[in-house]
């Protein structure tokens, strides 16, 4: 039985925006197991990024974590609820035990500081080095580890002097600088070209093996999921639709949304006569549909789907789905 490193229970995040209360995620629950790569997939606005950020309270105003628990199991056997920690306690975990990589390397880095400084800073704020200067020294090794050529000179470069792929390597370098136990990669390759994407995914896998870390990979690209993850959580409109291993999700999808999604993606290695599209549009999360949030677009929707919110049920070992059909 795999042991969980993170247990997310009934997480709920709302955004109090100009336009009203956006119920970004509601009652999201799933586990992340030690040593796995878990992919969180879904379309724009489904709440996958919000979920990943809520883990360490990284929700900006007007957002607010309304309820839920994030149980974090430390190596020493102790367990903490990350949502109960105060600012300083959670700060010590961020970037140290749980590190992030964001989508756009161009905007993640501060343009006014050298990459060496920014890597060194990540170590310094967690007391891994005495001062930034020592940190910059250590940054050379980190740059070497993320396969940046000529690291001795690159530490002195500013972000704008590097290509997109190189910047993302630096961002990854900042992520692994403190040897984190959980690495959260939020669409790490969306802004990059396919060939660079392949290299970055390869690098993340490599580093994960080396440090025995756990990876939470957030993506909308089902191809990336199939090639890198072991388990998948499919989200739709702020809720978890389905959880399973990649083989379960890709070869035996249960939720009508997952089924439709897989039929909408063109596979370059298969002959496709006709892609199937999902009718309708993603619902507005200020006034989400009652009952199952997918029912307005679902071909199998019945009266019950319009009224009752489906619970997440385990259909086969490790394969959970939130749908009234099961």
């Amino acid at each position: 039985m795999p042991e969980p490193i993170i247990e997310i229970k009934n997480l709920r995040v709302y955004f109090y925006t100009y336009a009203g209360v956006v119920k970004a995620i509601e009652d999201v629950s799933f586990n992340i197991y030690r040593g796995e790569t878990l992919a969180l997939v879904g379309e724009t606005g489904c709440g996958k990024s919000v979920t990943s950020r809520a883990l360490t309270q990284l929700i900006e105003s007007p957002g607010r974590i309304v309820s839920g628990q994030v149980l974090y199991h430390r190596d020493d056997g102790s367990t903490v609820d990350l949502l109960k920690l105060n600012d300083e306690e959670i700060r010590e975990i961020r970037g140290n035990e749980i590190a992030y990589i964001f989508q756009d390397p161009h905007s993640s880095l501060d343009p006014l500081y050298t990459v060496g400084y920014q890597i060194g800073e990540a170590m310094e704020v967690h007391g891994k080095v005495k001062n930034i200067k020592e940190g910059i020294g250590r940054a050379v090794n980190i740059l070497r580890e993320v396969l940046i050529p000529d690291p001795e000179n690159r530490v002195r470069n500013y972000p704008h002097e590097l290509s997109g792929g190189m910047k993302q390597r630096v961002v990854i370098g900042i992520g692994i600088a403190n040897n984190p136990r959980l690495l959260i990669a939020d669409e790490p390759t969306t802004a990059l070209d396919v060939t660079v994407q392949a290299q970055i995914l390869e690098l993340i896998n490599e580093l994960k093996r080396k440090y025995n870390a756990t990876v939470l990979l957030i993506t909308h690209n089902l191809g990336v999921v199939a090639e890198t993850a072991q388990r998948v959580v499919v989200m739709y409109a702020g809720k978890v639709a389905e959880i399973g291993s990649i083989d379960q999700i890709f070869h035996n999808p249960l939720h009508p949304y997952t089924v439709a999604l897989l039929r909408a993606v063109p596979n370059p290695l298969k002959k496709i006569e006709k892609l199937e599209s999902i009718p309708g549009t993603v619902p507005n999360l200020i006034t989400p549909p009652k009952g199952c949030r997918f029912h307005p677009r679902c071909p199998f929707a019945e009266e019950r789907c319009r009224k009752e919110v489906p619970e997440l049920k385990e259909i086969e070992p490790g394969h959970w789905v939130a749908c009234h059909r099961y």
Partner: protein
């Protein structure tokens, strides 16, 4: 059959300036030739900065070409002026990638669609009826007539853009990554609409994309671009089944396959380096620094020509040339 569009030796260089002097050229498009036949979709794939978007825009003379011939329905577009240019503007259209910036936010849907129609002097009995008909053909309706773009989702906006293209009844449309800003579920919808319209009206498409899966789904024939040059041209099915150029092979091996079983079985090739800057492209074959099969003394010296290796399947690589 006569091609709708024939591009020959198209080049577009952008100057690089420093202290008022030109110190170099970005060779965005460097000698590209292909043709597109009526009712056909020609796909153009490549990574960002390879010149595929510049190619699309240069063909429509949104950017003036540095060199080369663009023959559209028998007329050289680069020589057109005045009335004839307007004729070209009407019959060759473009649809853009970003649905959020490609519609003027201050105009109603009605105005967005009618402005070009009025400008080109196309006679319409009842403008409202005309626009409603168009909206219906792309899956919108008369409720949307007097709304502003911000009231629509990304997919709906691309439909409006499509209705606008349809209004001028063009022969040829450049589709510049029309779905890359959209979610997969919406993307399938737009792609299918595009295919249906092509069947109905006999449009020719130049389909530009970086997504190999989408290109395969849409195109009859396709070209692969690398640093301003076409490295492989041929029927789409053939290129995917039997990629000849090492770059095409690298692209295919780098692209993630949405099927775990196929992904595990997929033939993999190591992906080396990043695309170099188009300012000073490598000598000889531009791909040689990243190519696992590069032969010193040949690939880094001489540029391979685009040659027909099997029927209708062209490739620019010394592996198939000087044997």
């Amino acid at each position: 059959m006569e091609p709708v569009l024939k591009v020959e030796g198209l080049r577009k260089y952008f100057p690089v300036k420093s202290l008022l002097r030109t110190i170099g050229w970005v060779k965005a498009v460097d000698g590209v030739s292909f043709e597109i036949y009526p009712g056909e979709t020609f796909g153009l794939v490549g990574e960002s900065g390879c010149g595929k978007t510049t190619t699309g825009r240069t063909i429509l003379r949104l950017i003036e070409p540095t060199e080369g011939k663009i023959v559209f329905n028998g007329k050289d577009v680069t020589q057109l002026k005045g009335r004839e240019m307007l004729w070209f503007r009407r019959h060759a259209q473009i649809m853009f990638q970003d649905p959020y910036s490609s519609l003027d936010p201050r105009q109603t849907v009605f105005n967005i669609i009618m402005e070009p129609v009025k400008f080109h002097g196309i006679e319409v009995d009842d403008p409202e009826e005309f626009v409603i008909r168009l909206l219906e053909s792309v899956g919108l309706n008369e409720m949307h007539l007097y709304r502003y773009p911000h009231e629509f989702s990304g997919g709906q906006r691309q439909r409006i853009a499509l209705a606008k293209v349809l209004a001028l009844q063009p022969d040829f449309v450049v589709l510049d990554e029309p779905t890359s800003a959209l979610d997969v579920s919406v993307q399938a919808n737009i792609l299918n609409t595009l295919k249906d319209l092509q069947k109905k009206h006999g449009f020719s498409y130049l389909f530009i994309s970086h997504d190999l899966g989408v290109v395969k789904y849409m195109s009859h024939r396709m070209g692969v671009m690398y640093l301003g040059k076409l490295v492989e041209v041929g029927p789409a099915e053939r290129i995917f089944d039997n990629p000849l150029h090492p770059y095409t092979q690298m692209l295919l091996s780098a692209i993630p396959i949405p099927d775990p079983e196929l992904a595990r079985k997929k033939k993999r090739m190591e992906v080396k380096g990043e695309p170099p800057s188009p300012i000073n492209p490598p000598s000889g074959c531009r791909f040689h620094p990243r190519c696992p099969f590069a032969k010193a003394g040949l690939c880094d010296k001489e540029e391979p020509p685009l040659v027909e290796v099997e029927k209708d399947h062209y490739v620019a690589c010394w592996l198939y040339g000087k044997a």
